[in-house]
């Protein structure tokens, strides 16, 4: 072990360089370790209980309540760090929950929803709410539950059961023990979001939801029979897992992608799926995983139990948006005096006076006045009385009933009244307009009309005499009223009044 006397200048420079490099590498490694450690140490966000936002507090009471209608909301995970469009920030979620609590919403258990849609007697609070969380993300346990506890809410977690991990495993998803712990809080119920069908899979010519499509496999395309056994097996597996974890069978299912098979590559899948779900032990199924792009209703006793609507909430949904969606989802009670509503025109000017609504031409020959933002999904059977003034050979009045604008379908039944005749037409989706009835009338410029809609039949009385009874398409099973005119000049609809003929 001889020791060098004194290293030369070059050796010393080399040693200095080596030392600097070692130190540099050590500092970098240290930095990386520190960052990793920080990441490891906070594997989840602590919950954030937001104070009630001022805007929401001001609008308290603005959302109407309707007896027998349960608002159902869909959330996914709640995190400040996940940029996914499905993910709400902790703050946004906290604000939404605080708003719902301030508005007086009270959560109901899943069995209440089931009983409601199966027409069993239920007791509902004034503003019933069902919160649902799809996928079974870890944040359900870490972030959501404490916020729910704060507001005394309960919720349903729809779990993708194969994603659940063993206790102690760091994961995006819940562990089985966390599921049990949530169950023990008494705040949570669990449903199935399939076992592992949360990812799009190859289907012939495309990718699609594996639940509702025949898949393309290595051995060729799946047959319907293979689809059936695959789905039945997966539903059974998910149900079994849930039962093992929570002790109770799951009653509810939520379709991955909110897809219940209406865009399937086998037309029969949509009709067959409820049967498979029922055999899998489920009673009800929810759609509505995505943010609503059109109309969405609250759940009522007339909601189809295999297609229960939910309101999907996304990152972009502000509290104001939420309030607007809530309001529009809530059925509006039928008013009797239609002049009280706010009519807005399309290609027409709507003049609302205390006793009448006048539709004036603005540009084209066809102008319509309708009421927007009113949910007419519970406007089923009703009688509309009104007087029409201002008819001329060039001016025809059109009264629409069962209009789908506020009820979630596209179509209506139109009664077109001219000086000498009356025509009853139906418009359904993009189908061609169908004339149901044509009826000559004695010449007049003013008429008294009574339109009575009941089930899928419309009875029209003109000037006190029965004029026609027509049956129309079943798809027009609910909806409101529109007032329109064809031609030039203005038509005035006097004293339009509605009377509800639905069974209470």
């Amino acid at each position: 072990m001889s020791r060098p006397q004194r290293p030369g200048a070059a050796a010393r420079a080399g040693a200095a360089l080596l030392r600097t490099l070692t130190a540099l590498v050590a500092v970098c490694a240290f930095g990386v370790a520190v960052m990793t450690w920080i990441d490891l140490s906070k594997p989840f966000d602590p919950p954030r209980i937001a104070p009630l936002p001022v805007a929401a507090a001001a609008t308290t009471g603005a959302v109407p309540a309707y007896p027998g209608a349960i608002t159902v909301l869909t959330y996914h995970d709640i995190s400040d760090r996940n940029p996914s469009s499905k993910t709400l920030t902790r703050r946004a979620f906290g604000e939404q929950m605080a708003t719902l609590a301030a508005l007086g919403y009270q959560t109901v258990p899943l069995t209440t929803v089931r009983d409601l849609v199966r027409h069993k007697p239920v007791r509902l609070p004034a503003r019933p709410l069902l919160l649902t969380f799809d996928d079974g993300s870890l944040t359900t346990w870490t972030t959501v539950d404490p916020v729910l506890e704060r507001h005394h809410f309960t919720a349903v977690a729809f779990l993708t059961t194969d994603s659940l991990v063993d206790p102690g495993t760091p994961s995006y998803f819940l562990s089985t023990r966390q599921v049990r712990q949530l169950k023990e809080t008494g705040r949570w119920e669990f449903g199935s979001h399939s076992a592992a069908m949360e990812k799009l899979a190859p289907i012939p010519g495309d990718v699609g939801a594996p639940l509702t499509n025949r898949l393309r496999t290595d051995r060729g395309d799946e047959t319907t029979e293979q689809w059936r056994s695959r789905v039945a097996g997966e539903l059974a597996r998910s149900q079994r897992r849930l039962q093992e974890m929570t002790g109770d069978p799951a009653v509810a299912f939520s379709y991955p992608f909110g897809d219940a098979g209406h865009g399937s590559n086998i037309p029969t899948i949509a009709t067959e799926l409820p049967g498979l779900l029922e055999r899998g032990g489920f009673d009800i199924a929810f759609v509505g995983e995505n943010v609503p792009t059109g109309h969405v209703d609250a759940v009522t006793d007339s909601s189809p139990r295999w297609l229960l609507p939910r309101i999907g909430i996304r990152r972009t949904t502000s509290v104001a948006d939420l309030l607007k969606i809530l309001k529009e989802s809530m059925p509006t009670a039928m008013p009797s005096d239609l002049t009280r509503l706010r009519w807005t025109g399309q290609d027409a000017e709507c003049l609302t006076r205390p006793e009448s609504v006048t539709v004036k031409s603005r540009t084209g020959s066809y102008g319509t006045c309708a009421v927007h933002g009113v949910n007419t999904s519970r406007w089923l059977n009703y009688v509309l009385d009104l007087k029409v003034a201002g008819l001329s050979p060039r001016t025809t009045a059109v009264i629409g009933v069962r209009d789908g604008e506020g009820a979630g379908h596209y179509g209506r039944v139109e009664v077109s009244v001219g000086v000498t005749r009356m025509v009853v037409r139906q418009r359904v989706h993009s189908d061609p307009i169908k004339v149901l009835h044509t009826f000559p009338l004695p010449s007049a410029t003013k008429r008294t009309l009574r339109l009575e809609v009941r089930a899928d039949a419309l009875t029209v009385r003109v000037d006190g005499r029965p004029a026609a009874t027509v049956t129309f398409d079943r798809r027009l099973h609910e909806g409101g009223v529109t007032l329109a005119r064809i031609g030039s000049g203005a038509v005035t609809f006097e004293h339009p009044t509605l009377a509800n003929r639905s069974a209470p």
Binding site: P7, R19, V34, W37, Q178
Partner: protein
């Protein structure tokens, strides 16, 4: 934060601009065979002082950052306890233990210099040490302590070589009576040799020096100061590795010794219960030892006479009798560490055996004898016994669960960094990297504990190589070194 005697800092700071490792710290060196005090260290030249001070400060900052991060992790774990409760509990316990070492060590101060000079007996048990024994005798006589208050006893434990002759030869160079040589006549074991030494002397303080250890010139003067406190029964000195330069193994051991002494023993000293006053250089109060001498000498465990872990067993009994034990970082000595992996492996096995025997025995009485050390002893014992399972579990996880136990390894990495930074803060000899690597190296040895537990009744030292192989005489010094260097007591 950590106490760093100015002398030591001075000593090491002058080596900064050469990568030559500091060999002058080992008086005598491996080959010189001549006793000698450490050369006076050159004072740091003013130029580098500031940057060195800055580096020390940065190291301290780094240690603080690591401690803060670990504390934060523990806090998060406790607040949002989740997942596998056993693993979380283990993480919380072991992290708190590591943190507490840093925290307690920050409050460590060596015993104050009271200027007392009690009578001291230096007891050197020797077995087949023909080469080293004379060097040790010379270094003991070169000690800076009043001649009339020191007695030196060298005990020949039935050596089969010429140790006895060498002992007498060396003793003859000094006035009669300065060094007493005792021959046990046959090989009776280290414990018997130590006990014989204790019985043959009458001084107040007993200092054990291994036959391959060399105390610094002022080491005894420093070491006895702590006994000014009537309650102190034993004091451990700071032991450096003399042959640190030999290879990476000895470098890792050298840094490990240093960090263990400065961190673990300092922390234990603050609690007043240093659990092992090591055989290579430690002092005991005669009145603390004399009553339990027989019991200690003939200790039996699981029906077998104990042949290893002498110093840990003795310290353990001293603590049990209600004495305080301390650590004095100013009293320095140098010892040899095994320089090949085979010997190192066996030494580790022996330490682990003695630790698994004495750890639970200590835990059984520490709640009575020193309650405030209970949490630390409990965690040390329980977590220490769990550690082989934890490391095997962590290594198996990628295979069985398909994921990497990141918390375990990143945590280990950070703790290693903290050790390296502590080393760098206190010593500037370019060896900090070995403090870092050594942590992983030692952890890798922890599954050996399972083997140690299985063979705990086996009293063999395992290093004698059964001379019956009849090959060329094994290097006597290193073999003996391996044996005598029983217990620097670096906790598992």
């Amino acid at each position: 934060m950590l106490y760093s005697p100015a002398s030591r800092l001075r000593e090491s700071s002058d080596e900064a601009d050469t990568l030559v490792l500091d060999t002058r710290r080992a008086p005598g060196g491996v080959h010189s065979g001549e006793p000698g005090p450490p050369e006076p260290a050159g004072s740091g030249d003013g130029d580098g002082d500031r940057s060195r001070g800055l580096l020390k400060l940065l190291s301290l900052l780094g240690v603080a950052v690591i401690c803060g991060l670990i504390a934060w992790h523990v806090g998060v774990k406790i607040l949002f306890i989740r997942g596998n409760l056993i693993m979380a509990g283990y993480t919380i316990l072991i992290s708190s233990y590591v943190l507490s070492r840093f925290g307690l060590a920050a409050f460590y101060r060596p015993p104050a210099d009271r200027g007392i000079e009690p009578t001291v007996a230096i007891i050197v048990p020797a077995y087949n040490e023909s080469e080293a024994v004379s060097r040790t005798i010379h270094s003991c006589l070169a000690l800076d302590y009043p001649r009339d208050k020191i007695e030196i006893v060298v005990i020949n434990d039935g050596s089969s070589d010429d140790t006895w002759e060498r002992m007498q030869e060396a003793a003859a160079q000094y006035p009669p009576g300065a060094v007493r040589c005792i021959d046990l006549g046959r090989n009776m074991g280290k414990r018997a040799a130590m006990a014989a030494g204790i019985r043959a002397t009458s001084s107040e303080i007993l200092v054990f020096v291994d036959s391959d250890s060399m105390p610094a010139q002022d080491a005894i003067t420093k070491l006895v100061q702590g006994f000014a406190d009537e309650k102190v029964g034993a004091i451990s000195g700071l032991t450096y590795v003399r042959n640190a330069d030999t290879n990476s193994l000895t470098r890792m051991q050298a840094t490990r010794y240093y960090v263990s002494f400065q961190l673990l023993k300092s922390a234990e000293s603050v609690l007043g219960a240093v659990t092992c006053c090591s055989g290579c250089f430690a002092a005991y109060r005669r009145s603390a030892v004399v009553d339990l001498l027989d019991e200690w000498e003939h200790q039996r465990f699981l029906g077998v006479e104990c042949t290893y872990g002498d110093d840990r067993a003795l310290t353990n009994r001293v603590i049990k009798a209600g004495w305080t034990t301390r650590y004095d970082s100013r009293a320095e000595a140098w010892t040899d560490a095994p320089d090949d992996y085979r010997k190192f492996f066996r030494q580790q096995l022996r330490w682990k055996k003695s630790w698994s025997r004495e750890g639970p025995l200590l835990l059984a009485h520490i709640w009575r004898s020193r309650l405030r050390a209970l949490p630390s002893v409990a965690v040390q014992t329980v977590a220490g016994l769990m550690s082989p399972l934890v490391i095997l579990y962590s290594l198996a996880q990628p295979l069985t669960h398909g994921r990497f136990p990141a918390v375990y390894f990143v945590g280990l990495f950070l703790v290693s960094c903290a050790y390296a930074l502590v080393y760098r803060m206190l010593r500037n000899d370019g060896m900090w990297i070995y403090a870092f690597l050594g942590t992983f190296f030692y952890i890798a040895f922890s599954p050996q504990l399972l083997w140690a537990l299985a063979r705990i009744r086996d009293g063999k030292w395992g290093t004698r190589d059964d001379a019956g192989t009849g090959q060329s005489p094994p290097a006597p010094r290193s073999e003996a070194a391996d044996r005598t260097m029983a217990q620097p007591c670096l906790a598992a």
